[in-house]
Amino acid sequence: MIPAVQTALNTIVGRVTTLDHASGAGRIFELFVMTSLARGLRDAGFSVWLQRSDGTIIHPGDADRRFIQRGGAPTGVSAASAGPSNATVIGFRWGRRRKWEIWNGIQFAGRSAATHEIDISIVPGSVGTEIRKAGGIPVGRPRVAIECKDVGTSGSVDEMRAFIARLYDVTLLHAHHRHMHFPDARALHPGSPNEPKHRAIVTYWQENRRTKNIIARRTGFTAGTAPLGEYHRVEPHRDISVGSSTVDELVSSVVNWAGRNA
């Protein structure tokens, strides 16, 4: 034991108890990416707000100004009736267009019926509204999916492969709906708008192209990851840290996507 180091660590962890949770530092990194996106959207002219798990918006005059992240096992979306003490989301919209929601650590179900946690996802607001009626796990692919990695070691080919495999399992193409119970062929259920860009499409390539898929890392990637990500349309972003130009590029990529699609 090193007493002086332990005393200093105890003081730091005593002040910020999030750090003594197994996934605390990881959740902080996800929050940093999530709030950077929100700030970028706001700066680009979108309306942005924080929304409690019961669907209410956090206003400047509210006494309850908690931003809640889930730290335990991955889960779906809580029912609005369960109250405001589950995961907070960030909402955004352009003018009077449709609302969108940024989620953190939500599981999505794939065609295999396996569930996959997506660290940061962006979905139509109507999906959030519909699923909060009773709570549950969305089925299909979020329109933006970001895998966040804050560990010090570089991202491996295995890490990229695992993310791609998850995206493929949650991709619902038009043909897949022949075997599914949904009344309409949409890319994400329930609640996706009945518009061409939300309907299920024909090929993986088309779905990869119309969605935004990113791995955001605090450190770098090992050799060999770039070609794999490029082929399957996953953007690799390295060295994500406070105040860096790399954050600006990541934010710009998502904001540009939102400008075209939201």
Partner: protein, 177 residues
């Protein structure tokens, strides 16, 4: 195969005692993996650019075999590597948390009362001086962190830096086995 320098165990025990088991696991994993060759930023930037274009990806078909093996972190470098890792990891997390809480406050302050006629109204209690508090929720309960908490923790960072530097100097003077 990577070999763990026994002098690093002292730091690992200290992390566990400070309830930072996850950081102890990361240290061990980092030493186990060693140093892997990084993808150059030019290759990553080209990949990002290609993804954003509408170009159909072309199947290359020729396997690119990676011959470079990870390089183990030499035993006599592990003490310094581990001390730097702990300091950098915690510093980055606190910096990210501070930036996030500032952004969350900014968003709330800029929120207009009703986004939409269909919005669920909330019971506004007038202007408050309260900042947004981050709550990490699991079955064990809630862990709350405010901007004041983060500022307090960052104030203590110079103490951690000095303590780690002192340990590094002392450990370097010890035999490795």
């Amino acid at each position: 195969m990577a070999i763990l320098d026994p002098r690093v165990l002292e730091l690992i025990e200290t992390l566990v005692a400070a309830r930072l088991d996850w950081l102890a696991f990361e240290l061990i994993e980092g030493i186990r993996l060693g140093r892997l060759p990084d993808e150059p930023e030019e290759a990553l930037a080209a990949a990002r650019q290609s993804v954003r274009s509408n170009a159909q990806p072309k199947a290359r078909g020729e396997p690119h075999v990676l011959l470079e093996e990870p390089k183990p972190i030499p035993a006599d470098e592990q003490v310094e590597w581990a001390a730097a890792y702990v300091e950098e990891r915690l510093d980055a997390a606190l910096e990210q948390l501070q930036a996030s809480l500032e952004t969350l406050d900014f968003i709330v302050e800029a929120t207009i009362e009703r986004q939409d006629p269909q919005d669920v109204p909330t019971q506004a209690s007038g202007k408050t001086d309260q900042d947004v508090t981050l709550v990490l929720l699991d079955l064990e309960g809630e862990r709350k962190s405010s901007r004041d908490d983060v500022a307090g923790a960052r104030d203590n960072f110079s103490t951690l830096h000095a303590a780690l530097a002192e340990w590094t100097t002392r450990a370097r003077g010890q035999a490795t086995t």
